[in-house]
């Protein structure tokens, strides 16, 4: 079988789709699938060992002022597609998905002169360019971890002024995504909760959606005997993203003893000041540490040495920090939002609490802090659950099943 992947951003350290592309293609290749990839910048780490990679151009100029582009980017603006990008970004529209999909369409058309594909797998781009691709006679599927409607809702909650509402409305290409997703052959999402969200957001038929849990590298995310710190909470996520619920975790910290400290894996001030301002508001600034952006090895060490991981999210398409913590044998206190209640097992791998409830969060953290044996037991159970359900080989095997099913259905309908 030969699959063509389309991913508008490929860097494994910027957004989930890059990680998904890198590891899923690697494991699918091990299962005998020939992989071609069309990917936009930031480009992924080298994947040439198992895939043929075609890189498309994109200037990533959204929210950057013209005078700050630099000479090299400025000269590239005068090509038609880049100018369209430029034109739309000046009106706060985020056209990366549209232009990537059109470039991918053109490139696929050329590739099909010498290569055949059994399936085209889009990674949450859903750009207009996918529609003419249907004419290629190849089934097209997409992976959507969560619909952008969730991100837009979160932005609307943060927006304060009319202008902020306008820019949020313009930013999200929901009309395009709704139109395109309903015309694809299959949609993969990473949780049962995700199915309902897609139905609600895009009016998608349930039969078109398959659930494949996300994967993580359980060999890398594993406990190597590191000594655990006491009274140390770990939060991994974008603190500027309201959906991550850092506000409620900081509020919960005020209800916990002073000795309990919080490490936040994200940039702090001066780059990001939102969480710092909140910490000052709640008078917990001396109990939090920002690690900044960290490499994989450091992230694993942080998971392995933390007393527990806290996921305070108001919504999660999957909840990777919870699964990564579990893989590192670290108990997790998490909200029940989104897919987290599927990733976690309440009382076995950690404790689930309602979202937006600092008191419940604090009580759950305190309860686990007091019981070291329970923490160890939950850590072991979490590891087992992560390996059995959330490893990349499992994700690849299940994805391959979806491919086979989609191809069979497509061919029988022709």
């Amino acid at each position: 079988m030969r699959a063509l992947f389309l991913c508008y951003r490929g860097n494994p350290f910027c957004g989930g789709q890059g990680i998904y592309l890198y590891y899923l293609t690697r494991e699918l290749a091990k299962l005998g699938v020939e992989i071609d990839v069309i990917v936009g910048p930031p480009y992924p780490d080298p994947m040439e060992k198992w895939a043929k990679v075609y890189r498309t151009e994109n200037l990533n100029i959204w929210s950057i002022r013209t005078e700050h582009f630099g000479y090299e980017k400025l000269t590239r603006l005068l090509s038609p597609m880049n100018f369209v990008d430029y034109f739309l970004t000046r009106f706060h529209i985020f056209p990366e998905m549209e232009t990537f999909s059109l470039r991918a369409f053109n490139l696929t058309r050329k590739l099909l002169k010498t290569r055949r594909y059994d399936i085209i797998h889009d990674v949450q781009c859903l750009g207009w360019g996918l529609l003419p691709m249907k004419g290629f006679g190849v089934p097209i599927i997409t992976t959507v971890h969560h619909p952008l409607t969730k991100d837009r809702e979160a932005d609307f909650i943060r927006d304060a002024t009319f202008w902020e509402y306008v820019t949020t409305t313009l930013f999200y290409p929901l009309t395009m995504q709704r139109t395109v997703i309903n015309r694809l052959d299959r949609v993969i999402t990473s949780s049962l909760e995700g199915v309902e969200e897609l139905v609600k957001a895009f009016g998608l038929e349930r039969e078109k959606i398959s659930v494949v849990y996300n994967g993580l590298d359980v060999e890398v995310f594993s406990h190597g005997g590191e000594k655990r710190e006491e009274n140390s909470l770990l939060f991994v996520g974008n603190t500027e993203d309201y959906k991550k619920g850092i506000r409620y975790l900081l509020e919960a910290l005020t209800l916990l003893p002073e000795k309990i400290k919080l490490k936040i894996v994200d940039d702090g001030p001066p780059q990001r000041i939102g969480a710092w301002d909140l910490a000052k508001k709640f008078h917990v600034e001396d109990r939090i540490t920002f690690t900044g952006k960290v490499d994989m090895a450091t992230l694993v060490r942080l998971y392995c040495t933390a007393t527990m991981v806290v996921v305070a999210s108001l919504h999660e398409g999957f909840g990777l920090p919870a699964a990564e913590g579990m893989a590192c044998e670290t108990p997790v206190v998490s909200t029940t939002s989104g897919a987290l209640k599927e990733v976690m097992k309440h009382g076995e791998t950690g404790i689930l609490v309602p979202p937006k409830d600092p008191r419940a969060l604090a009580d759950a953290i305190m309860g686990l802090m007091k019981d070291k044996k329970l923490r160890q037991k939950m850590g072991k159970a979490g590891r087992k659950r992560a390996v059995e359900n959330f490893s990349w080989p499992v994700a690849a095997k299940n994805t391959l099943e979806v491919y086979k099913d989609t191809i069979a259905a497509y061919r029988s309908n022709r």
Binding site: L74, P132, G135, I157, F162, T169, K281
Partner: protein, 153 residues
Amino acid sequence: MPRAKIYGFIALLVSTALAGLFFYHSFYGPIAGGIFSSLLADNAYYAVAVPLGFLVLIILGTGFWIGWTILTIKVAPPMPEIVEKKDYAKPKAFLLCLVTLALLALFAYGVYLKSYWALALPAAVFTIVVLGMVFWVGLAIITTRATLPADKK
């Protein structure tokens, strides 16, 4: 034949036919009828008004859609930190809807009257925006250093 291919053929035929109609009525017709004629024929006027009308519809439609989206937001209450900063977003969104509808009605009325200005004004706005951007990019290229000066290396 796959349905997508049929759509492809339809798109090809329709776009070719429309392009033919456009060029015939907007160029061949006026030239054949006397290029210096002060009055445009109906067909020539509408050959320009219809595509321009689509452009106006897209732009004003986007404005209306933004206003409508803001008016109909149904999400959880905003963060406590945000509440005190709220401005009059909903009344402004309502105003945006009204203005876009009024402009659209004005455009439609102008086209109905076959007014020259109904076409010239939106065309001017669009031209100025596009050319303004090209000008701005050109200016930025001219005024941006291609390399660092020797003493900054």
